[in-house]
């Protein structure tokens, strides 16, 4: 065991934990003020829900001994046997518990990402039930496929350093299912204005996300080594580049550079570099970031034409950004950066690009279908949406009996 690695991963776990409140603010600033608390609540409560679920059964399903390359078994139910000795399969230098709690933070933020899709209209009770099911039935399997010892995508050689498929594509495509099943907000695309109520809050959220994301990506090295340093650098540079790219693109397309664009571009860059962070060099990271800024902006721009109401653009930013990142990993990955990784297409290995495509498609299909079915079942049984009247009055007062501001 190594104290430095343990220190590093524990601090990184704290950083990743902070991303969930950061995301809450990022999203919260974009909704209307009558739904601010409901939006914050959906994120904050997931800390509680998924934290406990992870300790009880989630961790075991994701990282327990493999069952058919698809899922972990129940050996670690209730964290039985998850002690202070390293779990050698994943890291030789940090306590098993450190690995487990670090992973817990990933399991928390992933479903939180989805909440942006159905913001301002979802019933809180249905939301809770959905999330328990989704983490258990969708997140845990996909995490196992990609990261778990024996997982089929890992076996195939798919590269996903810190969660491009497991976290972003997974959540992003579930968000699409959500938007389709839950339906549009009242007045969407029809006179009503959905002007963000508090953009400084969104900027603060983006700042905290950026900060916490260093824990997300660099921490995924599971050690305080050159790889962590390289992942840290890639993360920062891609994010810088994506911020600029998004703002530049909208400046050209729409005539003005916006603050929300800068914050969104940063998040798009963070998303896209996530799978690649530990496999690519700094200049590749900048290119990935530029791609993310442009592609995600265009994806967001196109949304209204596609007709669904993904309130806070989870699909445009996380799904599309995640797909771009996962594929870009298959382009830019280099063994010179990480010998334990693989070369990508641009380094003479087109096979890796193919593998990345398989991982992307598998995640897209599985997560979309499973999420869609879950939403449909809940819609039919308990109902997903609040009443039209409650939606007009706002979820804060109707679902939580509170008011965000009394300034």
């Amino acid at each position: 065991m190594n104290a430095a690695d343990t220190a590093f991963v524990l601090v990184c776990a704290a950083l990743v934990m902070l991303m969930t409140p950061g995301l809450a603010l990022f999203y919260g600033g974009m909704v209307r003020s009558k739904n601010i608390l409901a939006t914050l609540m959906e994120n904050f409560i997931l800390l509680g829900v998924v934290g406990v679920l992870w300790a009880l059964w989630g961790y075991s399903l994701a990282f327990g001994p493999d069952v058919g390359h698809f899922i972990g078994n129940l050996d670690y139910l209730g964290l039985m046997g998850v002690g202070t000795e390293p779990f050698k399969t994943y890291s030789e230098t940090i306590p098993h518990q450190t690995f487990m709690i670090y992973q817990a933070m990933f399991a928390i933020i992933t479903p939180a990402l989805i909440t942006g899709a159905f913001a301002e209209r979802m019933k809180f009770s249905a939301f809770l039930v959905f999330m328990v099911l989704w983490v258990t039935l969708v997140y845990c399997p996909v995490a196992h496929w990609v990261w778990g010892d024996g997982g089929w995508l890992k076996g195939l050689g798919a590269l996903d350093f810190a969660g491009g498929t497991v976290v972003h594509i997974n959540a992003g495509i579930a968000a699409l299912a959500a938007a389709l099943v839950v339906g549009k907000r009242q007045g969407y695309g029809n006179h009503a204005t959905f002007i963000p109520h508090n953009l400084p809050m969104t900027v603060l959220g983006a700042g905290l996300l950026w900060f916490g994301w260093f824990g997300f990506n660099a921490g995924s090295a599971l050690a305080a080594n050159a790889l962590a340093s390289s992942a840290f650098t890639s993360t920062h540079l891609a994010t810088c580049a994506a911020t600029l790219a998004w703002v530049a693109t909208e400046w050209i397309v729409r005539g003005k550079p916006t603050t929300l664009g800068a914050a969104s571009g940063a998040v798009a860059g963070l998303v896209a570099i996530t799978p690649a962070a530990g496999f690519v060099g700094p200049m590749s990271a900048i290119l990935i970031g530029i791609g993310a800024g442009i592609i995600c902006y265009l994806a967001v721009l196109v949304k209204p034409k596609l007709g669904y109401d993904d309130s806070l653009d989870v699909v445009g930013v996380h799904c599309i950004g995640g797909v771009w990142g996962a594929l870009a990993t298959g382009l830019f990955a280099s063994k010179l950066v990480n010998s334990a990784g693989a070369d990508g297409l641009f380094y003479g290995n087109p096979g890796q690009f193919l593998i990345q495509m398989i991982a992307v498609v598998a995640t897209l299909v599985f997560s979309f279908v499973a999420s869609y079915i879950l939403f449909k079942i809940l819609d039919a049984t308990m109902g997903l949406r609040v009443t039209a009247e409650d939606e007009v009055a706002g979820l804060d007062i109707t679902e939580h009996q509170e008011t965000g501001y009394s300034l």
Partner: protein, 112 residues
């Protein structure tokens, strides 16, 4: 000239405005207000303490118009702002003595 003052539900502002625009009302002033009426208030709970909030968010629209347009305006507002539920609000009509357009100094109907 008359001032028409309507207290309506906030989410009805947009349709009312559109409809008024359609009958060529070209100016109005809007204020966020809180209303107390037959509609019962909201109960809020903070750490188990309950507070009855009697004042509900409403929007006040003020339009000064020539006498002959008043009826049409009132009718339009009633038409567009009505949900049929308690809390829809009220319209008040007041006499106006004089109007001045600051930019030009014009007075009377010409200033509207």
């Amino acid at each position: 000239m008359k001032k028409i003052e309507a207290i309506i539900q906030p989410f009805k502002l947009e349709p009312v405005k559109e409809a008024l625009h359609a009958i060529s009302v070209e100016g109005m002033t809007v204020t966020e207000v809180k209303g107390f009426g037959r509609q019962k208030g909201i109960r809020e709970v903070y750490r188990g303490m309950q507070y009855q909030v009697d004042f509900l968010p409403k929007v006040k629209i003020e339009i000064v118009a020539a006498d002959d347009k008043v009826q049409a305006i009132v009718d339009t507002i009633v038409d567009k702002a009505r949900t049929g539920r308690i809390g829809d609000g009220k319209i008040f009509v007041y006499p106006v003595g004089e109007v001045v357009r600051i930019r030009t100094g014009e007075k009377g109907d010409a200033a509207l």
